[in-house]
Structures are given as structure tokens and as C-alpha cells.
């Protein structure tokens, strides 16, 4: 699957102006704080409506401002792990994890619930409310929730920033496997290029709203 | 269903002005006994009741504290005009708190304003509530209205005016005798001559929705037995 992003969007003083095409696999987005990385993901996910431009997944046009096309967020089937966990505070961890599955159309289920729970070591937390999770625990739940919604594209905004090294070393290979097995393309924002250097098939370096 | 529903023929809903509550509640068992009609009474302001009858309220009998609102219904053919009677009368009195009540002769030009001093005269709302309208007429014909018009404390109804006086907030008030008698916190310091205001009349009539039961109850209310109860409450009966 290829992802085509070609957008212009004003954010206060910053002018976001990005044109990239990525093909299947892992795309890393790196760049200093305030470069516009999160905003770019927001545009792809449908959380921000860009001023101008096009977003396409293969032939599926998600945004085309010239043609007045704008597919609402919930129809895009794009998994998004936000920079903050954004767990639903009124639902247990289990129900947070299950939230996206209501809407996932697939019959076969490559992301089996138990697999994800095991991988992210969430077993002991399932009955917990989000207010009682540690920072890293919450971020892992957010990652699991996105994976379990069976997306066709995964957006990760520093998903491992507060996850410890040991678990990071487990999660990254798992993501690799997912990409390999079900060809789930991933856009990965990070401050730690080391995390993705060896894996990323493409690295997009951003600064001040532009690809550099 | 309230009245008129099959199987409950012997129920009658009466709409009555609030000021009749004490008397009617006392009479209810006697009414039932004498007429075999079980009455339920809805007490509210005459204006509200009249408008409800206009809107199809299932009341069979209307006892108003006010001629105007009975006329209002009469004009719209909502009462059986043949049944309309002036059931009761009342007397207008000047009251003061029981603790410091001194008689005040009510004659043309009597010094009410001076007696009030900086205090206020509690009356029912003179623009709207019947007792207030009578009070205003009486004071006008006695030539003292203008001198007290700026010193009024108009109340929602007679009972509220009574309250202002019995609580000592107002040094004087004008209410019906029937109300004054019922409150031990006030004393009657003078009675307005009947000639000083239009006759105080409580008209009653069977509504167009009312039937024989309503007529029978209205008839009972005009018997000596009923009148005795009304009289004891301070109403005028003839």
C-alpha cells in the first residue's frame, strides 16, 4: 500500500507544507519539537482538515480539497496512537482495548486480543481504570487499542517515549512482524532515530513544517 | 377522568376561589350527605379557574370571588345563565396588628394617611384581585385614595395582605371580614360602609359541562344549613 500526502496547512505562525509518498513498510518521521510531525499525522487521521491538498491510500482518496472530498475520521480505518494516551477514563482497560473492535469489519483477526495483551503485558491491568495506570502502562494500552481496531494504516506518535527499554525491544520486532505478515504500513514519529534507523524503509526528516 | 366519566356519575368537581376554602372544606361532608354527590374542590385564583373553564375544564360548578370573571364566562356562554346566583357577600374591614390596634372611624376623608405615617397599607393587588378592587373603590369614594396611593403594599391575594399586617410589616390593611376573623394576629379597627364600594358578591353558577348534580349542590349551598356555616366564617348571607 502506498500513502500519498501532499498538503498545506497553516498552524498559527507555522506553515505546514508537506509532500511525501511512502510505500508499504515503516516510514519514520523525525524532526525537532514543533516541526509539525503531530500535525501531519492529525491530517492523515482526519483529526485536522488541511487548508489545501490531497491524502490518498493507494486509490482511496481520503482528502482532496480541490474536489471537496473529505472522508470523516471514523471511516478511514487508520489506527492512531496519539502523543498522549487519550484513554477513555470511564472504561476499564479491557473495554478501552476492545473499543475499536466494534467497528472492525474483518472476519479473520490477525491481531488476536490475547496476543496483543500478552505482547504489551497488559494481562494484570485489564480490570483497572485508566486513572490507576502508570504513564508507561497507559501508553501501552493506547498502543494495544489502536492495534486491535484492525487498521489498514498505523500512525504512531512517539508511542514508546515512556515505555522502558526492555519492552521497547519486544514491541518493535512485533510491529515488524505485523508489517511483514499483514502488510500494515506504519508511519512512526520519534525523537530517538536509533529506535527505527535499522528498520525504517524511509525516513522523513521535518523541520519548521517542511520536509528537509 | 374526573367528572362525567361512566360509573363515576356521582363525582362533582367544583372550581372555587381560594378564599372559600375554609368554608367549603367544612361543608363537604354535609354536601355529600345531603345530595349523595361526592365533591372535589380545586381552589385557585378566580382568574385562573375561569380561564381553565374556558379551556374545557371538567368543573361542574364555579364559585367565583369576582363578578368580572363570572361575567367573562357568561359572555362566552360557558355557564348556564339560569343557574347563576349571588351566593355570598362580604364586608370590607380595616385591620391592624392585634398588638397595637386602635379603632379608627371610617368616614369620608378619615386620616388614614396620617395614621399610616411612614408605614404602608396592605391590600390585595388593586388592579387585579377582587378585594383590592373593592378597597380601591371604597377609599376613592371616601376621598382618601389619593393620599394613600403612594403608601400601598399590594399583595398577591387577601391572605398575603393579611399576613403583612399580622406580621407587623404594615400598620394597616384592608381585607374581607371573613379573612380578618380567621387570623388572631390582626384586629378589626373599622368597617367600610357598604355604600362606599360596589356590593361584594361571590357569584356561583353551574357550568355548561355541569349537570343535575352540580345544580343540586348549588341548591344545597343556598340552604339555611350551609348559610350558617358561611356566616360563621364571616361571609354575608341574606
Amino acid at each position: 500500500m502506498s500513502v500519498r500526502i501532499d498538503v498545506v496547512h497553516a498552524l498559527g505562525q507555522l506553515q505546514l507544507n508537506v509532500s511525501i509518498t511512502t510505500s508499504a513498510g515503516l516510514t519514520a518521521v523525525i524532526g525537532p519539537s514543533g516541526a509539525g510531525k503531530t500535525s501531519l499525522l492529525n491530517i492523515v487521521a482526519g483529526v485536522i482538515r488541511p487548508d489545501r491538498g490531497v491524502v490518498r491510500l493507494d486509490d482511496d482518496v481520503l482528502v482532496d480539497t480541490a474536489k471537496g472530498i473529505w472522508r470523516p475520521t471514523h471511516t478511514r480505518r487508520i489506527g492512531y496512537v496519539f502523543q498522549a494516551p487519550r484513554l477513555f477514563p470511564h472504561l476499564t482497560v479491557r473495554r478501552n482495548l476492545g473499543y475499536g473492535r466494534w467497528f472492525s469489519p474483518a472476519v479473520t483477526d490477525p491481531f488476536a486480543f490475547d496476543d496483543v495483551v500478552d505482547l504489551l503485558d497488559l494481562g494484570a491491568l485489564l480490570a483497572r481504570m485508566p486513572a490507576r495506570l502508570s504513564g508507561g502502562e497507559a501508553q501501552r494500552v493506547a498502543l494495544g487499542r489502536a492495534l486491535l481496531s484492525q487498521p489498514r494504516l498505523l500512525l504512531l506518535d512517539e508511542p514508546l517515549a515512556s515505555v522502558d527499554q526492555a519492552r521497547r525491544d519486544e514491541v518493535l520486532p512485533y510491529l515488524d512482524r505485523l508489517r511483514a505478515e499483514i502488510r500494515l504500513p506504519t508511519i512512526y514519529v520519534t525523537h530517538t532515530p536509533a529506535e527505527v534507523e535499522s528498520r525504517a524503509e524511509q525516513i522523513v526528516a521535518m523541520d519548521r513544517g517542511r520536509v528537509v | 377522568g374526573v367528572a362525567g366519566a361512566a360509573g363515576r356519575q356521582r363525582d362533582l368537581l367544583i372550581f372555587a376561589a381560594s378564599s372559600l376554602q375554609t368554608a367549603l372544606d367544612e361543608l363537604a361532608p354535609a354536601i355529600e350527605h345531603a345530595t349523595s354527590v361526592r365533591v372535589r374542590v380545586s381552589y385557585a385564583a378566580s382568574s385562573a379557574l375561569a380561564r381553565q373553564i374556558e379551556s374545557g375544564a371538567p368543573a361542574g360548578l364555579f364559585l367565583s370571588a369576582d363578578l368580572d370573571w363570572m361575567n367573562y364566562l357568561g359572555d362566552r356562554h360557558l355557564i348556564k345563565s339560569g343557574t347563576r346566583v349571588n351566593l355570598l357577600g362580604n364586608t370590607l374591614v380595616l385591620i391592624a396588628p392585634a398588638s397595637h390596634a386602635e379603632p379608627l372611624a371610617i368616614v369620608p376623608g378619615f386620616p388614614l394617611a396620617r395614621a399610616l405615617g411612614t408605614g404602608r397599607l396592605a391590600i390585595a393587588e388593586p388592579a387585579a384581585v377582587p378585594a383590592g378592587k373593592y378597597a380601591r373603590a371604597a377609599l376613592t369614594s371616601l376621598g382618601v385614595w389619593d393620599s394613600v396611593a403612594a403608601k400601598l403594599a399590594p399583595a398577591e391575594n387577601v391572605r398575603a395582605a393579611l399576613l403583612f399586617v399580622s406580621r407587623g410589616e404594615a400598620p394597616f390593611g384592608i381585607v374581607y371580614r371573613s379573612d380578618a376573623l380567621a387570623d388572631r394576629g390582626v384586629a378589626i379597627v373599622g368597617t367600610f360602609p357598604a355604600t362606599s364600594h360596589p356590593p361584594i358578591v361571590y357569584p356561583a353558577a353551574v357550568t355548561t359541562a355541569g349537570g343535575a348534580d352540580a345544580a343540586r349542590v348549588l341548591e344545597f349551598l343556598q340552604t339555611a344549613a350551609a348559610k350558617a356555616v358561611f356566616a360563621r366564617q364571616g361571609f354575608l348571607v341574606d
Binding site: 471514523h74 466494534w102 | 368537581l13 376554602q21 374542590v41 391572605r159
Partner: protein, 224 residues
């Protein structure tokens, strides 16, 4: 009427008024909190009307519109056989209308304080706006819904002016505690009886408040 019967009737009217109007209040609150359409200010003003006008006016308007001869009242009667006039159902309508602005404000306030980021997150997980509303926004606004219902219920217990003007003061049918108290206040020498009914009112509302606080605490505890 015995005290127990009056309390039972008052409770029935207040509960029905609160429960039946809650969905409409949620809808109105939602539209006011989130809608961006031309008539929004107008809707806002209309919702507040029963608060702004003297209750007698509201009652009179209800009588005119929902009374037997009123346009809506006549229609309801002929089509559905539903009659509000001079029935306890009408008293519930009056109480609901009078409590409506209170419910809407509380719910709206709660909806407005829901974190939009969570709604975005629900969207990326595939939840449509309506589903997000049902599973995220409204559950998070639940404390406001509860607070609104408490206000509506309390108002329903105390409502007097609109009720007596719309459905009169008929013992056993429309005479709630508030109306019974009013009637008694009109009767000199009944201070004792007034105090008794006032005490009952206070007791009923105290119980209702305790219940609502208990529920609110449960909601809050469920999130920590």
C-alpha cells in the same frame, strides 16, 4: 387526601416529569453545546423562557396550547387519545417544562467540559459521531446529567404557578405537595398543617438528594 397519597402523587409527577424530559434535555443540551447553526441563539432563548417568565404565564401558555381546545392539545386528543388537561400527566408536563432550562444548562455545561481529544480518539477507532456521543461524550457528561435531573426533580417538587394555572388544583389528580401547601397557606390558622407538609417536602427532597449524591459518588468512584 391523606399526606401519603399527596406524596405519592407528587413523587409520581416529579419522577415522570424528570425522566420523560431528560432525553429532550440531553438533546437540547447537545445541540446548544455542539450545534453551529443559525437558530441556535433562538433555541437557547426558548429553552430559558420558562425560567424568565412568571410561572403563571407559562401555565397559561400551556393551557392555551395543550388544553383541550388548544391546537396541540386537541390534536393529541383526537389522534392519540392523550389528554393533559386537568390530569396528573398535565401536572407532569408543567413540572417538566419548568425544570427544562435547569436540566439543559447542567447537561450542556458537562458536555462542554468533555475533552474533545477523547472524541477524536474514538473517531480514529472507527466510532461514528453518534456512536462517539453514546459511548464517550454522554457517559463522560453523566455527572451533569445527574445534576440536571436533581435540579429538575427538585423543581418539579416545588413547582406551583404553572401547574395550578394549567391543570388546576384538583385533589388526587393534580394537587401536589406544593399545591396543597399553597392551599393551606391560604387558609388561616393552618400553620401547623403547613409546617407538616413543608416538613414532608423537605424530607422527600432530602431523600432524593441523598440518592443523587450516592449515584454521583458511584459514577466518580467508577472512574478512579
Amino acid at each position: 387526601m391523606t399526606d401519603a397519597a399527596i406524596i405519592a402523587l407528587s413523587l409520581k409527577i416529579a419522577v415522570v416529569a424528570t425522566v420523560a424530559s431528560a432525553p429532550f434535555a440531553m438533546l437540547a443540551a447537545l445541540v446548544l453545546a455542539r450545534g453551529r447553526f443559525w437558530g441556535r441563539s433562538l433555541l437557547n432563548a426558548i429553552v430559558h423562557l420558562p425560567l424568565v417568565l412568571p410561572p403563571v404565564v407559562t401555565g397559561y401558555a400551556l393551557l392555551r396550547v395543550l388544553g383541550r381546545h388548544g391546537p396541540v392539545g386537541a390534536l393529541l386528543e383526537s389522534t392519540f387519545g392523550v389528554v393533559f388537561a386537568f390530569r396528573w400527566t398535565g401536572a407532569a408536563v408543567a413540572a417538566a417544562v419548568m425544570g427544562f432550562p435547569l436540566m439543559v444548562r447542567a447537561i450542556r455545561l458537562a458536555i462542554e467540559s468533555v475533552d474533545r481529544d477523547l472524541e477524536d480518539a474514538a473517531g480514529t477507532l472507527g466510532a461514528s459521531p453518534w456512536w462517539t456521543l453514546a459511548t464517550v461524550t454522554m457517559p463522560l457528561a453523566l455527572p451533569g446529567v445527574l445534576a440536571g435531573m436533581v435540579l429538575g426533580f427538585a423543581k418539579a417538587l416545588g413547582e406551583f404557578g404553572a401547574t395550578i394555572t394549567f391543570v388546576s388544583n384538583i385533589p388526587g389528580e393534580t394537587q401536589t405537595l406544593a399545591l396543597a401547601i399553597f392551599s393551606l397557606i391560604q387558609t388561616p390558622g393552618s400553620d401547623r398543617a403547613v409546617m407538616r407538609l413543608v416538613g414532608l417536602s423537605v424530607g422527600v427532597s432530602f431523600a432524593a438528594l441523598m440518592l443523587s449524591e450516592y449515584l454521583a459518588r458511584r459514577v466518580a468512584r467508577g472512574r478512579s
